[in-house]
Symmetry: C2
């Protein structure tokens, strides 16, 4: 009998996992609270329900053999009970639990000697004000932050009114040279493989990641340092699955772990087209304890997120697709979200090129020509 | 409003089309008579019904904008009426109709000056016997042949009792040096792109394709000749979609068209992993009149069909998957057919390598280690 596999979450990461699951003809079921989520039309085995409700998760998983996630905000107690009942739950509930809260995540890094910026745990805004000598710092919510939400840079006392009046952390600001990411896969046998280091490029004026490219434009010794940190972190967690490790490279050439995600990650989307095996293929191999695939890149690549156009809210419509498909080696992937909103992640474009100048030109072309507007 | 697209047929080709349709988040519906066909679990929009019944096809397509196929054996009158009603039907019903019958297909080649082996149309076995001087020849059924069925080599008079007592053709045997195939895509704008020429390798003793590889090991001038023939054939049909052109290369270096298929084809499966854009991606671009993608190969590649093991009929079970996934650059794709039967196509493995010796070694390893048996 084929293993029955469930994914908690049916958003874009679930959709890309589902797509690669067709290769091995895996038996997949999906749970998501949104009846019109990205995955809902792409499988007969879709259940609409809450990911954070104990009973819903238990009911969804009762006939499954393997349970995985595409989002961290899930009911941990259910996953622990499913694990205790002998089901394979990967990433492990203990890993998700540690990562769910930025406070326990930071404690974990410190106790495992993983390089990370100094921090203070805070309960509310008053505690942040009391620690104003710690600025410049980044104030992060303990739970519930995602996609840049729940993160606030506090440069000086003047910014203190922007601080969250909630449980979180105050993390010493790293004046980084570059922001990097490494996605590492680890299977039950302990086999590990890293995707090449990805580099984020920031918009020169707006404080936004403009695009990312792979492999990063860094010294070989820095790349090695980044991989070693990723391996150390994956081993510390003992994770089975993918671990996306976001890092800062400081001006002295040292790597600091910013935060981690125990699943496929935005920083690995270009692997769909640019690498021999994608992060989504690798996720299945890791959690099913299969030999890991080769993460070698075919070429230099970039990835541009396609965000909902400013000023547009409503039924999404793609503009400029023809131009993008006519561009050599530009591959759009759309998430199938019905409604667009300003800055909502609606898709991405993977771009391949032989040299960096050409890559940058194509990135600009995509950014100027592909739009998601309301109908 | 998004275009609504229907595929007639939900077998392995439909499944691979569905998989790539996730990239552009196409709105796909599928019709197939088998409730457990390869596609049935991978879409919410699955309809179980006959592909050859006029009313079923009309009902399935009534709310669709674009209709395509993954198998030729479909109701042509329905497709013609849908086309007349203003729907996009690609490949065009006239093309499918011509190709459905080997007799009209051969007539088409002759009338369009496409190089093909001489032939005689026959109504029954008596007419074949009356033409015994034409042997050695290949006797093909006019309609209903597929996967090597409906094709019989008649070397000499001694083989006449193997001839089909049915309408078909008697085609002069081509003493070929190699069997080649080219898949060409053509969109409504008339843009055309060829995938590299693929070469079939036959088992030294059994009369069976053992594997295929790409690009073919032929002179550049021969590859050019093969591409020119593919372009000429696609233009003659005016096809919108994919055309797989199977060819013989004779011992004098001349190309002869054996037969064509107006859809994704077994000879293009390795493009999923080995080429920048796969035949399935290209099919969507062609029928949606989008710019065609780049069919350039990343490297040398081979494709091995995974057939049901002899002596095994029943619920299918894969043996040896771990070994295949541990092999560098071997990528299995399973069709999700519940029941295995001897020689049934159950999946394939795409293999990448830098040189031919290494490719051949991996092909042998896959053939010796991956088995589909009954549980």
């Amino acid at each position: 009998m084929k293993q029955r596999i469930g994914i908690l979450g049916g958003g874009q990461l679930g959709k890309m996992l589902l797509q690669t699951a067709l290769d091995l003809d895996l038996n997949i079921s999906i749970l998501d609270p949104d009846p019109e989520c990205s995955c809902s039309v792409w499988t007969k085995n879709f259940t609409c329900g809450s990911l954070t409700d104990y009973n819903t998760v238990m009911e969804f998983a009762k006939d499954l053999d393997v349970i995985t996630i595409e989002i961290e905000n899930v009911n941990i107690q259910a996953l622990k009970d499913l694990e205790a009942a002998g089901k394979k739950v990967f990433p492990q509930p203990s890993v998700i639990e540690t990562i769910q809260n930025k406070r326990t995540q930071k404690d974990f890094f410190v106790s495992h000697n993983i390089p990370t910026s100094p921090f203070i745990k805070v309960k509310n805004r008053d505690e942040i004000i009391a620690n104003k000598d710690f600025l410049p710092a980044v104030n992060k919510l303990g739970v519930g932050g995602y996609d840049g939400k729940g993160v606030q840079l506090l440069k000086s006392e003047a910014d203190l009114d922007k601080a969250f009046d909630a449980e979180g952390i105050l993390e010493k600001f790293v004046d980084f040279e570059k922001e990097l990411a490494v996605i590492i896969a680890r299977n039950e046998n302990g086999e590990m493989k890293c995707f090449p280091v990805v580099e984020m490029v920031f918009h020169p004026t707006a404080n936004l990641v403009e695009y990312q490219f792979s492999p990063a434009n860094i010294e070989a010794s820095t790349a090695q340092q980044a991989e070693e940190v990723a391996i150390k972190t994956a081993e510390a967690f003992g994770i089975v699955g993918l671990l996306a490790v976001e890092m800062f490279l400081d001006k002295e050439g040292k790597i600091w772990v910013n935060e981690v995600a125990p699943r496929p990650h935005n920083s690995g989307h270009q692997t769909q087209k640019a690498n021999v095996v994608s992060q989504f293929d690798q996720h299945w191999r890791a959690i099913l304890n299969l030999p890991l695939g080769d993460p070698t890149p075919h070429s230099l690549s970039a990835m541009v997120n396609i965000l909902g156009e400013e000023g547009h809210t409503g039924i999404a419509k793609v503009e400029g697709l023809d131009k993008i498909l006519a561009l050599e080696h530009a591959y759009p992937f759309f998430y199938g979200k019905k409604i667009t909103k300003p800055f909502r992640k609606m898709g991405h474009v993977s771009i391949l090129a032989d040299d960096f100048e050409n890559l940058k030109e194509k990135v600009n072309f995509v950014q100027n020509n592909l739009k998601i507007i309301a109908q």
